[in-house]
C-alpha cells in the first residue's frame, strides 16, 4: 500500500510535531517530555481497559518503549496522539491473554429497549444539577465497574469516545473499525453502562421528586 502524502498543514496541526522532529533529529533526551505529556492519560486509559493498576503500568511501559523504537517511522499521517493510542491498543491486545476480561458477547439493541421501567414524564430535576455535585467517589467507582463489565469489543470504543474525548473518526482509526461500527458499538456500550447505573438514576429521581 502506498503511503499517503502528508501536507505541511497536517504536520503543523499536530501539537507534538516540533518535539517529535527534535527527538528524531537526535535530541533523544527530550523523549521524556513526550512521556510527561501522555503518561497520565495513557495510564488512565490502561486502567479503564485492563482494570488493574499493575497491568496499566505494564501497558504504559510497553507502549512508550515501542514508541521510542518506532518514532523514527512516524510520518504524521495521523495526529501523534492517535498513533500513540493505536500502539497502546495493540499492546493491550497482546497482553490480553494475561489479564482478566469480561466475557465477550454481542450486545443487542433489543436488550436495552425501554420497557416497563418507571418512566419520568418530564426530565428529572437531577438531570439539570451540576455534575460535580453528583460525581462522588462511590459513583465514580460504580461507573468504572460498569465500564469494566462491558464486553471487550465495546469497552475501548466507549473509553476512547467518552473518556478520552476522541472523535468518531479518530476512534475508528485507532481501533481499525468503520465509523458506522464505532457509532453502533458506542450506543450499545452507553446503554449498557446506563443500565448498570439504573439504580442510581432511580434513586436520584426519587430524591428530587
Amino acid at each position: 500500500m502506498s503511503k499517503p502524502r502528508v501536507s505541511k498543514q497536517q504536520r503543523t496541526n499536530d501539537r507534538d510535531a516540533s518535539l517529535i522532529e527534535a527527538i528524531n533529529a537526535g535530541e533523544t533526551d527530550r523523549f521524556y517530555e513526550l512521556v510527561q505529556r501522555y503518561q497520565q492519560a495513557l495510564f488512565n486509559f490502561g486502567l479503564r481497559i485492563c482494570g488493574q493498576a499493575a497491568d496499566a503500568e505494564d501497558m504504559v511501559q510497553d507502549t512508550f518503549l515501542n514508541v521510542f523504537k518506532y518514532l523514527g517511522t512516524f510520518r504524521f499521517e495521523s495526529q501523534f496522539k492517535n498513533w500513540l493510542y493505536r500502539i497502546a491498543m495493540s499492546v493491550c491486545i497482546k497482553r490480553r491473554r494475561r489479564s482478566k476480561f469480561a466475557p465477550e458477547r454481542e450486545l443487542s439493541l433489543d436488550e436495552f429497549l425501554p420497557g416497563d421501567e418507571q418512566i419520568a414524564a418530564e426530565t428529572p430535576a437531577w438531570a439539570r444539577e451540576p455534575l460535580d455535585r453528583l460525581l462522588d467517589e462511590e459513583l465514580a467507582r460504580r461507573i468504572e465497574d460498569a465500564i469494566l463489565a462491558l464486553p471487550e469489543s465495546y469497552r475501548p470504543v466507549l473509553v476512547l469516545r467518552d473518556l478520552e474525548g476522541f472523535s468518531t473518526e479518530e476512534t475508528a482509526q485507532i481501533l481499525n473499525l468503520t465509523s458506522g461500527n464505532v457509532k453502533v458499538r458506542l450506543h450499545r456500550a452507553r446503554l449498557f453502562v446506563r443500565e448498570q447505573l439504573k439504580e442510581y438514576f432511580n434513586h436520584e429521581h426519587r430524591r428530587s421528586a
Binding site: F31, Q39, F64, I87, I119, A127, L134, D162, R194
Partner: protein, 97 residues
C-alpha cells in the same frame, strides 16, 4: 408517509428512533433526522426518559476524574528508556501495525 402522519407509538418506529439516540446526543445526525427524533421524543415518554439518562451517563463518563500516575511507574519507565537511549536493551512487543 410524512413525519407528522407517522403513528408515534409504532414500536418499529420507536426502535428506529431509539437506535439513533447516541448519534442525536453527539450531533452526528443531519437536520431532518434530528427533527424526526425530537418529534418522537415529544410523544414517547420511554425514549425521552432514556435520552435524559443516556445524556447523563455520557456526561458522567466525560467527568470521570483521572487517577494519578504511580511514582514507581515513572521511575521504572525512565530507567527502561535510559537503557534504550544508551543503546542497551531490546524492545519486544507490538509495533504500530
Amino acid at each position: 408517509m410524512s413525519i407528522a402522519d407517522r403513528p408515534e407509538h409504532d414500536p418499529a418506529h420507536c426502535r428506529e428512533m431509539f437506535a439513533h439516540l447516541s448519534e442525536y446526543l453527539d450531533r452526528e445526525l443531519d437536520e431532518t433526522a434530528c427533527r424526526e427524533i425530537e418529534q418522537h421524543l415529544r410523544h414517547c415518554d420511554a425514549c425521552r426518559a432514556c435520552c435524559a439518562t443516556l445524556a447523563r451517563t455520557v456526561a458522567l463518563c466525560r467527568g470521570m476524574p483521572a487517577h494519578a500516575v504511580p511514582e514507581t511507574m515513572s521511575t521504572r519507565l525512565r530507567e527502561a528508556i535510559e537503557k534504550l537511549r544508551s543503546g542497551d536493551g531490546t524492545v519486544s512487543g507490538a509495533g504500530p501495525d
